[in-house]
C-alpha cells in the first residue's frame, strides 16, 4: 500500500503530462461536430405542400398544423424538437433538411417557433376551403389528374361519385 501511495500519483502524472490540455476553446476553434450530427430542421416554404405528413411522424409534436381562417399554418417549435429527423425522412416534397444548428437559445419562446403559412384552395362545388393550394399544384405535376378533379373537396367528390353511380344504374336519386 505504501508504495502505491506514492507510485500511483506519479504514474497518473506521467499520463497527464503526456496527454496535455484537452479542454477545447469553444466557441472558438474548429467546430466540435461530426459529419453525422443532427441539429434543428429547416423547412423550405417554397417546397412545402402543407400536406401535414411530417406532423404525423414527429414524436414530440414539435411540428403541428392548425387552421387559421382560410390559411393552413405549419408550425415548427424548436423547444419541443428532439432532432430525430423523422420529418425529413417522411416529407414527400423533400422540403425539410436537417441542419447542424445547435446553438438555439432564445430569450423568448416565440423566437423558437417558425411558421409556414399556406393559402387554401376552395372547393369548386361547395366553396369550402379544403386543402393547401401548393399541394394541389405539386400533386398535379406528379400525378396525371385533371384540375377539375383536384379542385373538388373529398366530400363533394364522394357525393358526385354516388350520383354518377346512381345514374348509371338508374336509381332515382
Amino acid at each position: 500500500m505504501q508504495i502505491s501511495r506514492i507510485a500511483s500519483p506519479l504514474k497518473l502524472l506521467t499520463i497527464a503530462l503526456k496527454v496535455g490540455r484537452v479542454t477545447k476553446k469553444y466557441p472558438f476553434g474548429p467546430p466540435l461536430l461530426t459529419e453525422s450530427f443532427r441539429g434543428a430542421i429547416s423547412i423550405d416554404p417554397a417546397k412545402c405542400w402543407g400536406c401535414g405528413a411530417c406532423t404525423l411522424v414527429c414524436p414530440p409534436n414539435a411540428l403541428t398544423m392548425r387552421l387559421e381562417g382560410e390559411k393552413i399554418v405549419l408550425e415548427y417549435f424548436k423547444g419541443r424538437c428532439i432532432f430525430c429527423g423523422m420529418c425529413a425522412d417522411t416529407c414527400p416534397a423533400n422540403a425539410i433538411i436537417v441542419t447542424k444548428e445547435f446553438e438555439l437559445a432564445a430569450t423568448s419562446v416565440e423566437d423558437l417557433k417558425e411558421d409556414v403559412i399556406h393559402k387554401m384552395s376552395k372547393c369548386a362545388i361547395c366553396g369550402k376551403p379544403f386543402v393547401a393550394t401548393a399541394e394541389i399544384r405539386d400533386v398535379m405535376k406528379m400525378q396525371p389528374i385533371t384540375e377539375e378533379y383536384a379542385n373538388i373537396c373529398p366530400e363533394c367528390r364522394k357525393k358526385r361519385a354516388v350520383k354518377a353511380f346512381g345514374m348509371r344504374f338508374g336509381a332515382s336519386t
Binding site: 501511495r5 461530426t34 453525422s36
Partner: protein
C-alpha cells in the same frame, strides 16, 4: 436438456396444475394458471432455477372483462421465458407469489397501485408507486382513465400512509422513470441500522402515454429512448425487439449488427461514466477527470455513427435509420484501439490507489443467496457470483455471433461490482470490433410490416445496469399494454441488505454501486441518528466528508 424437453416439462406441469398452455414461441411459453394454484406453480418454477423478471398488471376488460397479472419468469440456463397469466373479475382477489418468490413484491405492489387490483397480503402496505396525495379510487393504468388525467391536488392526504415515526421531507424529486429515490438511513452512531426507501417520485406515466392516440408504433421508440438518460438506446432496442417478436418481423442482419454495435458503445460510455462518478464519490477527482477524458471520444464516436451523442434516435420497428459505411467503420476502429490503450494504462493506476481499493473492499456486501432471492441483475448480480447476462442467456440481435466473456466475481462487495464494470469495458470494445469486422451487407430496415392485434411478447436486453425487460400486448396502431422494467427496479431492493450494518461513510458508495442512473439523479440521503433523533440531508457526493471521520 434441450429446449423441446424443457417446454414439454413445463407443459406437463401446467396440465398437472390445471392450467393451459396458450402459445409457444421460439423464446417464450405463455401459460394460464388457475389463480388458486399459481403459488405452487411459481414455487416449482423458481426452484427449477427460474428468475423472476417482473410482473405486469393489465386491464383486459375491453377484451375479456377481466384483470390479468402476467408473471414473467426467465429460465436463464435454457434461454426461454415463461409467462404466467392469472386473471380475475373486477373486485375479486388475486393471490400474491411474493412469499415464494421475494422478487415479486415490488411489481405486485405496482399492479395494486396502478390498476387497483386486490392482491392478497398486500392490503396494508404503503403505496409504492402512486404519490401520497393521489386520489383513492383512481387507477391510472385502467383503460377508462384518460392519459392526461390530472388529480386535483389535495394536501390533506399527505403523509398519512407513511409509518408515523418517519416525517416526509419535501423532495428529493428526481426526473426519471424508475430511478428517482429517497432513502432514510437510520444510524446508531456511525452504523446504519435500517433503511427506509420511497421511490417513484416522478413517475412520468410513459407506459400510459404510449397507449394514448398521441403515439404510434413508429414514434414510441423515441419515447422509449427517453426512459433513461444514460442507457436510452437499451430501451428503444428492447421495445423494437419486443414488437418485432410479437409481430414476427424478420429484421435484416445488418440492422441487427448495427443495433448490437451501438448498444455496446453505449455500455462503454455508461461504465466509464460510472467509474468516473465512483472515483468522484470517493474523493479521487483526478481519476474522475481522467476517466471522463477517456470516455469523450466514445461520445463523439456515438455521434458519428448515429447522429447524436446521446439518445441516438436510430431505432425503428423493423430496422435502424443510420448505416455504418466504410469510412465510419475505419474511424470507429481507430477510436476503439486508442480508448482500449488509454483505459488499460489508467486502470493500472485506478485499481491500485488506496482511495478506491480500501474503500471498496468488503463494503456493501450482497451475499449470493440474497442476490438470487431478489433476482438482481447486471453487474450487481455478477459481482455476487451469479452468472447472469442476457446477451449470453437469451441471445438477441447479433450477440450470438460475437465471442466474449462474462466477468463474474464472487465477493459481492463494492470492489467486485467495480471490477465487473472494468472488465466489461474491455469485453465491449472487443465485441464492437468483432461486429464491425463481420458487418454483413444488405438493407438496414424492412420495407413494410404489419402488426396484428393482441399478440404478446417479452423482450430483454442487457443494459449497462443489467437486464431490461419489456412486455407488450399489441393493439391497433399502438400497444394495448406496454410494460417496462428497468434494471434498477430489480436492484434497489437489494440495497437494504447491502446497507445494513455498514459504516455510514460507505453508504454513499454502496448506493452508487448498483449504478442507478446518475444523469438524472442527484440523490439526496436523509441521515437520522436513532438515539438523538437528529436529522439532516446529505447529497451523495458528500460521502467524502464522512470518509475522513
Amino acid at each position: 436438456m434441450s429446449m423441446k424437453d424443457v417446454v414439454k416439462e413445463i407443459e406437463g406441469k401446467v396440465v398437472e396444475f390445471g392450467g393451459v398452455v396458450e402459445t409457444i414461441t421460439d423464446t417464450a411459453v405463455f401459460v394460464e394458471i388457475p389463480k388458486e394454484r399459481v403459488k405452487e406453480f411459481a414455487k416449482w418454477l423458481y426452484n427449477a432455477g427460474a428468475f423472476l423478471k417482473t410482473c405486469a398488471g393489465v386491464d383486459e376488460r375491453s377484451i375479456n372483462s377481466r384483470f390479468a397479472v402476467y408473471h414473467i419468469f426467465g429460465l436463464d440456463e435454457k434461454g426461454i421465458d415463461v409467462v404466467l397469466r392469472i386473471s380475475s373479475l373486477e373486485g375479486e382477489a388475486l393471490p400474491s407469489i411474493a412469499s415464494e418468490v421475494p422478487a415479486a413484491e415490488w411489481c405486485e405492489l405496482e399492479a395494486r397501485d396502478m390498476l387497483g387490483l386486490h392482491i392478497l397480503g398486500h392490503e396494508s402496505k404503503p403505496r409504492l408507486v402512486l404519490p401520497q396525495d393521489w386520489p383513492n379510487a383512481v387507477y391510472p393504468l385502467r383503460k377508462d382513465v384518460p392519459y392526461d388525467y390530472r388529480p386535483p391536488s389535495s394536501v390533506e392526504n399527505f403523509g398519512k400512509e407513511l409509518p408515523s415515526e418517519v416525517g416526509l421531507p419535501v423532495g428529493p424529486y428526481h426526473p426519471i422513470l424508475h430511478e428517482p429515490e429517497y432513502f432514510e438511513l437510520y444510524v446508531e452512531g456511525e452504523r446504519v441500522v435500517d433503511v427506509f426507501y420511497r421511490g417513484f417520485h416522478v413517475h412520468r406515466g410513459i407506459e400510459k402515454l404510449a397507449e394514448s392516440p398521441r403515439f404510434t408504433y413508429k414514434t414510441i421508440p423515441f419515447l422509449a429512448e427517453r426512459i433513461c438518460g444514460i442507457c436510452g438506446f437499451v430501451h428503444s432496442s428492447c421495445y423494437v425487439l419486443t414488437v418485432e417478436r410479437a409481430a414476427k418481423i424478420e429484421v435484416p442482419e445488418r440492422a441487427q449488427f448495427i443495433r448490437s454495435i451501438v448498444l455496446e458503445i453505449e455500455r462503454i460510455h455508461s461504465h466509464l461514466l460510472w467509474l468516473g462518478v465512483a472515483a468522484h464519490i470517493l474523493g479521487y477527482d483526478a481519476g474522475f477527470m481522467h476517466i471522463w477524458r477517456i470516455r469523450e471520444p466514445i461520445m463523439v464516436l456515438a455521434e458519428l455513427l448515429t447522429g447524436s451523442r446521446k439518445t441516438y434516435g436510430i431505432n425503428i420497428v423493423g430496422g435502424v435509420r443510420r448505416d455504418i459505411d466504410e469510412s465510419k467503420k475505419k474511424k470507429a476502429l481507430d477510436v476503439l484501439r486508442n480508448v482500449r490503450e488509454e483505459f488499460k494504462r489508467f486502470v493500472e493506476v485506478f485499481t491500485s490507489v488506496p482511495e478506491i481499493v480500501k474503500r471498496a473492499t468488503g463494503t456493501g456486501v450482497l451475499p449470493k443467496d440474497d442476490a438470487r432471492a431478489l433476482s438482481v441483475v447486471g453487474p450487481t448480480a455478477r459481482g455476487s457470483g451469479l452468472r447472469r447476462d442476457v446477451r449470453k442467456d437469451y441471445p438477441y440481435f447479433a450477440y450470438r455471433l460475437a465471442s466474449f466473456k462474462v466477468p463474474v466475481y464472487s465477493e459481492g462487495d463494492n470492489l467486485a461490482r467495480l471490477l465487473v464494470r472494468v472488465d466489461e469495458v474491455f469485453e465491449s470494445i472487443s465485441i464492437v470490433e468483432q461486429l464491425l469486422d463481420a458487418l454483413p451487407r444488405g438493407s438496414i430496415a424492412v420495407e413494410s410490416y404489419e402488426i396484428p392485434s393482441f399478440r404478446k411478447a417479452v423482450g430483454a436486453v442487457e443494459a449497462p445496469r443489467g437486464e431490461d425487460v419489456h412486455f407488450i400486448i399489441t393493439g391497433h396502431g399502438r400497444p394495448y399494454r406496454w410494460r417496462v422494467r428497468a434494471p434498477t427496479y430489480q436492484n434497489i431492493p437489494a440495497l437494504k441488505i447491502m446497507l445494513r450494518n455498514t459504516p455510514l461513510a460507505d453508504a454513499f458508495l454502496t448506493i452508487a454501486s448498483i449504478d442507478p442512473c446518475f444523469s438524472c439523479t442527484d440523490r439526496a440521503v436523509v441521515i437520522r441518528d436513532v438515539r438523538s433523533g437528529f436529522r439532516r440531508f446529505a447529497s451523495l457526493f458528500e460521502g467524502r466528508r464522512y470518509a475522513n471521520k
